[in-house]
Symmetry: C2
């Protein structure tokens, strides 16, 4: 039986060029988050299943990669037909952050501004652009009810996009409380509001007619007619009636309007209140938001306020607000724009003329590296033709050769791999940067 | 039932200070690897179980965290009492690299110098200093038999240690082929050499007497007496008889001596041939090496040549040599030395006097960030005392306040949090760096 050389379905390898682009994005995002006063944290990839399941995870719970129990516990579980798994891979970074905060809050500044960058795993059916292992880059503020939190989190992410060349990203704002208020105003009874939200959330993925039919069946004609001007306006391509929306929940609306105004004052012109924005997760309690870009269908990330997630861990409700960058989609934009591409490779690639001169090459590489230069060394003594091919593949700027003549004269032959120009130079001069 | 706030046993959270130290180490190691011409790669955290099991993994196979099958496949496996798992978490980075190379080699330079930094997982019993999730930082050269590979890999890692303040790390060298040759010379029959190696590998963990008793039972008195001068010398604190060792396998020994000589020529003075060095993994075929430091028991990393691991993936034998940094142990040294500690925090922490002046603070933070300064903003409008406490906890250099008087005068109050000195300054001057 042959062993697979592909990663499992939905998982990926990254070659050097892709790695360089991902590292570039992580570096820019980290620097921007830091400049806003967010501090890095990290949690374990593996969590107790009890943390991952139950209130908070919503749809994502079905997507947990569960880890098999081990040893005697596994034997017992099999014998009793019991639970086979005790641990699971995290499916987002928000739930782990809430656990982290519940555990470590006495050691943290208050409020706590955190950022967290790392992989998450979801057992989804693999399809184009959807992976089972992908990165998230979250920024969160825990412990403050102020709408400054929303402004900070959204500004930080828009700044990161801008630094990568995507100043034209848009942000859509809504408020979960306002959605519920609009449903109430439209006459939707309390016990049907959750279902209505789930149906409304499908408006950007499914034909409008089928969602309307579902809502008509669920709510009847009158409420659906009322919702056409607010929560359903986006799907019909009409502008939402924002004054009707404001009337449903004046306080929530004014908070949202303040956030939009401050973002505009910060120079972010692509900001809009969008009553049809739902965001899938059921732990949101207030403002929600989503980043979009004209070149992508779907979102470039999003987030919102989740003031009650902390209760899952037995503590009191702690106000919290955070957002996640859609890292893999951002990488698609970066790939297209060419930003963050691998730089030019090493400054020097030192070739090895033959075994008798191997030490000369090693010495030259050593001296170049000692002064901080990047110097690749061909790891062998193959034909020079293969070695030049290697230097080209590494995108080195210069190939350096010490053959018998050069060695006798105390010189190095330096070939500029772009122009093809060759020159003889003393090793000390190369090291000195001449 | 309360939900756990701790990460699972053997797993860890990292607070901002620890994160900063880990990022420092990753950055230094990456920069050094790059300067030697190694290129970054990344593989999936999850592999098919068939990749992780079978030849190559050795003892580590028992330590795989296996992932439960999902949906119908799980139901079928339970019903048939079959294999419950199809995937697993990687337990090292070498096996994934071999799979990666088998898959992607046509797109890679030849030979291929790769580095790979990331977490691995082992279902070991958790104990002090031993974790179930930990980082590895590997450098490998695939496709070359030259001992230059060993010199490059070892030099790169010693350079990384040196940059972090540990120029006094030592490297121990041995050769798997030479060990077998010495066993043959001592009269150990071929079918007992594997077992003998396993017993010898225990010499640095168990009392010498019990290992000797095991070897006597396995081999008899004469071979054990012969091995006392070579493979067993280290355990008795005596210097090994290197000329006897050389006689066992002159060619392998000379290669090892050349590697040691070139490392010494590179300025690495703490290099020694140590016949008792075994290294646990059964895929090593030639030179093996291990890094140590006086302040740590056990190793600071290690590696070796594994010329036949590629055969696992159905291809021909491809020569390969690589090493791994013991990242978690390195972090212990860094923690003790204080290197890589979090820097001073943001240059500014902008406080928020009250809600009516909130926008003034937001504007000031915005202008400071726009010119590249790090400016935290207190996310709320609490009491100033709490806000100063926050600024201290963030290790900010200066707290900035715009109260009613400052706002009226168009000024900002800047407090140096180290000296306590306060001054009034125009916002534009702060932004201009005055």
């Amino acid at each position: 039986m042959s062993i697979p050389v592909n990663p499992p379905s939905g998982f990926r390898d990254f070659l050097p060029e892709a790695c360089a682009r991902r590292e570039f994005a992580v570096r820019v995002i980290s620097e921007v988050y830091r400049s806003f006063g967010f501090e890095p944290i990290s949690t374990s990839a593996v969590e107790d299943l009890a943390v991952l399941t139950g209130k908070g995870g919503g749809e994502n719970e079905k997507l947990i990669f569960k880890i098999l129990k081990r040893g005697e516990k596994l034997d017992a579980a099999r014998a009793e037909n019991g639970e086979l798994s005790d641990l699971g891979l995290r499916f987002d970074l928000t739930l782990p952050l809430s656990r982290f905060y519940a555990k470590h809050q006495s050691q943290l500044p208050h409020p706590f501004k955190a950022f967290h960058i790392g992989p998450v795993w979801r057992a989804e059916r693999a399809q184009k652009g959807r992976y089972r292992e992908f990165y998230q880059c979250d920024a969160d503020i825990i412990g403050s009810e102020s709408p400054l939190c929303e402004v900070e989190v959204i500004s930080a992410i828009l700044t990161a996009f801008e630094r990568m060349g995507f100043a034209d990203a848009t942000v859509h704002l809504n408020d979960r409380a306002l959605v519920y208020a609009a449903l109430a105003q439209a006459g939707v009874p309390e016990d049907k509001r959750g279902q209505a939200c789930i149906a409304l959330d499908k408006l950007d993925k499914m034909p409008r007619e089928s969602v309307e039919a579902e809502l008509l069946g669920l709510l009847g004609a009158e409420p659906v007619a009322a919702l056409q001007k607010t929560l359903m306006a986006e799907a019909s391509g009409a502008a939402a009636d924002l004054s009707a929306y404001e009337a449903a929940g004046p306080q929530s609306y004014q908070r949202l309007a303040w956030i939009a105004k401050e973002l505009a004052a910060s120079g972010w012109t692509h900001v809009r209140v969008n009553p049809s924005l739902m965001r899938g997760l059921d732990y949101y309690t207030g403002p929600v938001f989503e980043f979009r870009h004209a070149k992508l269908s779907g979102s470039l990330g999003g987030g919102g306020r989740y003031d009650r997630l902390s209760e899952k861990f037995g503590g009191p409700a702690v106000p919290a607000c955070g957002a996640s960058i859609g890292f893999e989609r951002l990488l698609l934009l970066l790939e297209e724009s060419g930003a963050g591409a691998a730089s030019t490779g090493p400054e020097f690639c030192v070739l090895v003329f033959d075994e008798s001169l191997r030490e000369k090459s090693l010495e030259l590489a050593r001296h170049l590296r000692a002064v901080g230069k990047t110097a690749d060394l061909y790891p062998g003594t193959g034909k020079l033709k293969a070695q030049f091919k290697y230097a080209d593949a590494k995108r080195a700027a210069h190939a350096l050769i010490i053959g018998p003549d050069e060695a006798a004269a105390g010189m190095v032959k330096a070939k500029n791999l772009k122009t093809g120009e060759e020159r003889l130079v003393k090793a000390e001069e190369l090291v000195a940067g001449k």
